[in-house]
Amino acid sequence: MTYVALWCKSNFSFLEGASHPAELVEQAHSMGLSAVALTDRDGVYGIVRAHVRARELGIRLILGAQMTLTDGSQIVLLAMDRGGYANLCRLITRGRLRNPKGKCSVTWPEICEHAEGLIALWGGDRSLLVAEEAPHQILTDLLEAFDDRLYGLVTRHRRTDEVPQESRLRNRAGRAGIPLVAGTEVLYHTPARRDLQDVLTCIRHGVSLSEAGRLIRPNAEHDLKGPYEFRTRFTDDPASVERTLEVASRCTFALTEIRYRYPAERLPDGTSSSDWLRQLTYEGGRERFDGTISSSIQAQIDKELALIDELDYCGYFLTMWEIVQFCRREGILCQGRGSAANSAVCYCLGITAVDPTHVDLLFERFLSRERNEPPDIDLDIMHDRREEVIQFVYEKYGRDHAAMVANVVRYRSRSAVREVGKVFGLAETAVDRLAKRLFHYDNIDAQILEQVGLDPDNPAHTHLLRLADEIQDFPRHLSIHPGGFLLGHEPVHDLVPIENGAMEDRTVIQWDKDDLEDLGLFKVDLLGLGALTQLDLSSQLLEEHYDLRLPMDEIPAADSQTFDMICRSDTVGVFQIESRAQMAMLPRLRPRTYYDLVIQISIVRPGPITGGMVHPYLRRRNNEEEVEYPHECLEPVLERTLGVPLFQEQVMQLAVVAADYTPGEADQLRRDMAAWRRSGRIERHRERLIGRMVGKGIKQEFAERVFDQIRGFGEYGFPESHAASFALIAYGTSWIKCHYHDVFTCALLNAQPMGFYAPATIVNDAKRHGIEVRAISVIHSDWGCTLEPRETAGSVREAGETVGGKFAVQMGLRYVKGLSETRDWPRIEAARREKPLTSIEDLVHRAQLDERIVRRLAEAGAFAPFEQQRRAVLWSAQGLTGALTDGLELTSEEPIPRFEELSLFETIAWDYQASGHSTRGHPLAPLRSDLQEQGLPDARTIVSMRHGQKARYAGLVICRQRPGTAAGVVFMTLEDETGFVNIVLWKKVFDRYALLAKTEKFLGVSGVLQKQDGVVHLVAEQLWAPKVRLKPEGVGSRDFH
């Protein structure tokens, strides 16, 4: 005879349960149990994972939760039907929303109010039914609300104190006529996890094992019991064991019953959402295609609309349209990306900007009948206004119908070592030393312990190794997905509980994006993108200063000057193609069309690099190698990338065409690719793919290469649809840089933080292009950077390069570190508006600036219009604010001491320290003569040197990169007043000079120049610290992995 475990908590009862939901389900199945309940503490976080596994194994899953009451007691609730599940979700939502993040509590009246469709199991340690004082009133209320659905839960964990508890429970239940049901509180699927459960308990309470005392359980009796053991434990009361089956049979609800309807728009009378969508699509299409929609596009639109209607996704598209319309109305720049860019309907609705007549994209990647899964549309929104869109969604759909998707934060090796180490009471600095040696998914072994000076034979360290390994991938807490929203026709809290996020005004559901995907629910992604802010600011500046109204889709296409600039790698600040690696590729790929940019963006990615596809593509593009296809059937798939697969979509198409995958299987392949490192699921495609390809006459070698590439893609693959959307922005920003560098610089500086380079580099690049950049000034600067007329206005072009601009860029006060836009700027602005400033004293007095701010302004040289000697200004300013707080007169009779004048070197250093950049010069400019005396050339000279020549160079490190695909090679970018020098450090060189490479801001490099296709690298042989009189100031390198 069997039984059903009705009170099981997984590791989604955060830091309490010690087994994954799937492990509990698997164990129950292997023990021959017909059903198992998942009742996590105050949540249903793990039910989707358990549901998926239970469905695979054919075991029934009962859904419920252990609820915490405001009095600290607990009760277990199980969902009998859909209504009960909705009640449970509503109840948890109520308990969660009234509490700060991570806490939950409900009242007894609320339990009774939501009783319909729920079974209550009342028992266990923290239940009032076993407490010393009888809960008369609560018992009466619960009986009234639950009637025959209230059970007394008799629990036995072989603890002495359970004997009197059980006796009280039996007495009270007997008197009230409540039936009893047997159970144990399951916290892990096997007793072997007991140690981990103890550790989790310690982490939850913030204590070490030696301090934990009774916080940890007294024995290992919280495992999932087999039927025999369970029945033996309740030999004296078989009826309560039988009743577990009765309870289970009453709970018929399964997650498959969740029927999800996307919120429908308010439609004009008599119009169905399908008609409304069609109407909007065609209206938009006519606008997009200048009034004429070609027959091929019309056919594509009709095909898409039919499928959307058939799958009942009209509401989803209308929602996206609604959000995009809101953005348009409010002047918020947005653009859809992701697989939605494969859809003509999305283009017509204005959701995406990729013209389907120009790019042949795979619609099935976006939506397919066979897959019958909701489409995924990512909407990029200018980053500084994304919050407005989020609040619009909340407002439009209500907090009941819209909530952000969760992101489950899990233990990785480092966090595991740190937290488990604390539990063992190890010195935190020693544990940190160990953690730093580990990579993300590393296993911890004895060798690493020895390396950090910990004794591997010490029992505490042995336990640390074992348990830190075991805890990996356990959920730690919930955070918010960067932009994912779940929207529902019914209130979202009937589907899944909603809780408070850490951020103010954010509510978040208890499931993450994988859960939504597994249940086939819709998600809307609203993501912030700095480049859109930059474009928006540029367009405002163009209109304001050049009287040019230029929406993004009207930027002149295929502009040869722009592509010339791109081919020269003159792309500092250009979206997507500004990184060191992209800049190194540009002269080799030499993009001349929009689609070339799509490829350029995709090719410098780990997928194509690890797949060995970059060089074949470049050779074929440069006619150094013949374009050939492994099989004629693959020609349509690979034609646009010269026979070399570069995009994720191509891999899917390839699987369909060459290995007879169905579109659904191909999409599964995509998902497995994305998860291969974690799950190893990709391997199950290996034989199928290779075998079928070989069967079709494709060479084994190619088939294997394709499979390896798929694996590479898995982790880092870049979809063509993403690249297509990004390429539009990349081209737009390039065009503005090429023709309106002043506008480009000003907008980019105002859109910070974003992109690859620090503001100092952007300013230096602008200056090298002849842009006049004016220093921060309390009289002339606004908060943001502005454009001001130049004395020698007019754009001059020399040797194909834009020199100067009509306007000078006036740096804004936003760049003075420590100045606040909301506190300080309004005061300064008001003082300036009132009447012109006459002196430092005047500003300090009228704007009531505090000492710290005056110091900052003085350090940044912002008082230069009044006084050039910054040290004297600083001294005076400090004195003034002292007088101000004393309520004394501001004018001071005290003579100013004589201070040493700042040298140019010091002036620039002060600028960098106070504002992160200098308009007065590059930090290396004052040292140039020194460097020249030592025979050290500048960057411009290095670029002009010949291939293979030995060179020594010294520059400021602005970027360090160690890509995972480069086998330990480190790339660095060094800068001086004339430009950049790219450095390549082979692993052994890096290892030898690791300290210098990691720490020096001003670095010397000796090596050999490598020049190919106009790309120059200095391959380092030696690193050294340059010997100069003064150490130049840098802005700190941006380092990437």
Binding site: P164, P218, N219, T429, Q451, V452, R871, L874
Partner: protein, 505 residues
Amino acid sequence: MDRMACVSLPAFPLQLLLDRFPEWADIPAAVVERDKPQSLILWANETARRCGVLPGQRYSAGLALTSDLRAREISAAEIEQGVSRLSDRLRLFSPEVEPSAEQPGVFWLDASGLEAIYASLLEWADRLHDELSQAGFRCAVVVGFTRFGTYAVAREMSFARGKKKILVFRRAEEELDAARRVSLRCLNIDPELRDSLDQLGIRTVRAFIQLPGNGIQQRFGLEAHQLHRFASGDFAIPLHPQAAPQPLIREIDLEPAESDMHRLLFLINRHLGSLLNTLSERREALTELRIRLRLDVTADDSKRERIERIRTADPTLDPLQIMNLVRLRLMGDALPAEVVGVDLAVRSTRDAPKQFQLFRQLTQRDLQAADRALARVRAQFGDAAVAQAQLEERHLPEASFTWRLLDHVSPPAPQQVLMRPLVRRIYNRPLRLPPRPRSEPDGWLLRGAEHGHVERFSGPYVVSGGWWGGSVHREYYFAQTRYDECVWVYYDRKRRRWFLHGEIG
């Protein structure tokens, strides 16, 4: 002219750390603010500095530079202890030693007249330097004329390279000149002030004192102004030497030896009076009296002395109360031999004056009287005689309470327990039971036939855990014997044995 010396031990907490972990001398090591990865590095050794690890960085940032970086926190108590230890050493060279209150590792000594004892002040400084070096400390010793002058130069020297850092100024002007050349970076001044001055291009003491004093005060506050006055020579504080702690003891030799306890008590009483007078002058009160009776030599060498510690209920200067306790302690036992000497040592505390109560409220329970009574019990039966059981949140029965020595009685705060625990008596050490035979024709006889065989047996209730060090797995049972004795037994699964752990009643 008075001579003053300054001894500066650079990065003193780091020196203490390396004293504690000498094996860290050759690997990167640092003193951190707290034992946390994000904690600030306060001091780093030379090896760590070579790796780029600098004070002010976070430990985690230092770790990124060298993955071998060892670190420990040096607590204020450890530093205080170190300062006290060094003060004692320095007193060997000068009776007047003043450790810096703000800057551990800096000491001022009065060097006046010492050239009369040593060959010269240089010789004195040299020996002092050697003493500290032999103890494993790095330091600089400067003999001069002023507190600030010697300090500034010693600080600068202590950071410089070189083995022996000793300097003796012959003339005050030399010291003044040298002090003014010292870089502000060497002085222990507020980093914010130092950076502010650095920005103004003020980097030496000389440049600093050229700034107007009032301007300094207005901009940087009183502390900076005080430093300015010190450095300018406008203000000087004389040496405030720390007094060496004088133990309060009386050593009384008895000739002839004494064997009568009453006479001994009179003797103790007489000397106790003078000790209490001294305490009273120091505004202190006695908390413990240590009595050492030196015995006449007997065959048994281990009984050469008898030591007794008498603790009072509260700090007191009342000789009657103390002598009562002494009497209770000494009168109980006969002396094993004649007493040839008595040593009295006093432990005291600062006497906190109490307000006399005009109308003293009578309480039902006089806790002070209870404390005095306990002190008497302790005096008569020993310190361990008064203890209190305290509950502990532990699972193992024997660990669920501990005995704590009771110094003071506190008012009772009983908690209402409706259901009393079944087990009423727990053996501190479980009693080992004979192995349970496989065949029990007469039933299981736990404690022999006279207690009867077990008739009812309930369990098991499992207590297991401690897997991280000495794991335990016990299966507890309630056993009722034929003669209605209820006992609590367990089977220790690891040791494979039965034990009796408690009685039920």
